[in-house]
Symmetry: C2
Subunit: 177 residues, 2 copies
């Protein structure tokens, strides 16, 4: 019987498994780990009527206060129309404020307010707790290895983005009022 394009519709009963050069265990661990990693903040955000998109915006604005709209779009890799909606909500609810760029007045620098900083902290806490617990359950020296691994998973051409964030080690010297 003619089956389309050389494949039959016969059910395959053998599980796909990492014989060849397939690393299925890391693939699926990554999937499950990320799913649960994002579930912590998702629950908190629900109470605010926010979603994961708001979280990402809030996170990076807190991580690099004063970043412009264009820079944020670059990090998030979404369109400005897509950003507009969530950003507007975060501004309307007083989590983020816009400041006209001091050099280039076309630019809008984005800053968290006290409220926005507090929410960012609240969202980061359960995630940090999960990470800490996971690190404790493995070797003590694992931390550097895991960071290196995760960084190596990122596209090389996009790694500069990460490096340009104020590193957890080297705190930048800005003084708030």
């Amino acid at each position: 019987m003619a089956d389309r394009s050389s494949h039959s519709t016969k059910p395959i009963r053998t599980p796909l498994s990492g014989e060849d050069d397939l690393d299925l265990s890391v693939i699926e661990l990554f999937f499950f780990a990320y799913r649960d990693f994002t579930s912590d903040p998702d629950q908190i955000l629900e109470a605010y009527g926010f979603g994961r998109a708001h979280h990402r915006v809030l996170y990076f604005v807190n991580r690099k206060p004063g970043l412009t709209v264009a820079e944020l779009l670059d990090v998030l890799q979404i369109t400005k129309q897509s950003l507009a909606r969530v950003l507007k909500q975060l501004i309307d609810t007083g989590h983020i404020v816009q400041v006209q760029g001091p050099r280039d007045r076309r630019q809008r620098e984005l800053y968290p307010t006290g409220k926005g900083r507090q929410l960012a902290l609240d969202l980061a806490k359960p995630q940090s707790r999960r990470i800490r617990a996971a690190l404790e359950s493995v070797d003590g020296s694992a931390r550097a290895v895991i960071q290196d691994f995760l960084k190596a998973m990122v596209n090389p051409e996009l790694r500069p983005q990460i490096d340009h964030l104020p590193s957890a080690g080297a705190i930048s010297k800005g003084a708030d009022e």
Copy 2:
């Protein structure tokens, strides 16, 4: 001037950084790593008119052929209405077939076809390549540490799900025709 709920709208200029017990570097590395990890298959799926949802269904059906709809819903943690759409497309395009459960004839066992297996392989390859490259860039003994870490990131009550997948090591004994 009265500001709502004890917070001012004054812009905060200090970057959020991991002073307290905040593990920002792993938080953001995880975000970037997962983003790029999923971008490989996304590109392939586009050619088929499929999305990430199709990928997940196809993946787990290949990983555990014969799983029922209910089991799949359990793994994916979505509603049956949500699953219905993508599953229908995968069946219509001949990537997955349904077989009436042999014991309980209400159940629908899901199996990949040759075509569905092939696509699953094509999607897993670039992800495995990325993982392999990342593992090579770190210590050789890192593999076990990273797997343990990722597993520890998963909610304890959901870990059985992972363990019940045919592990890359112990291949189950099913014989295809």
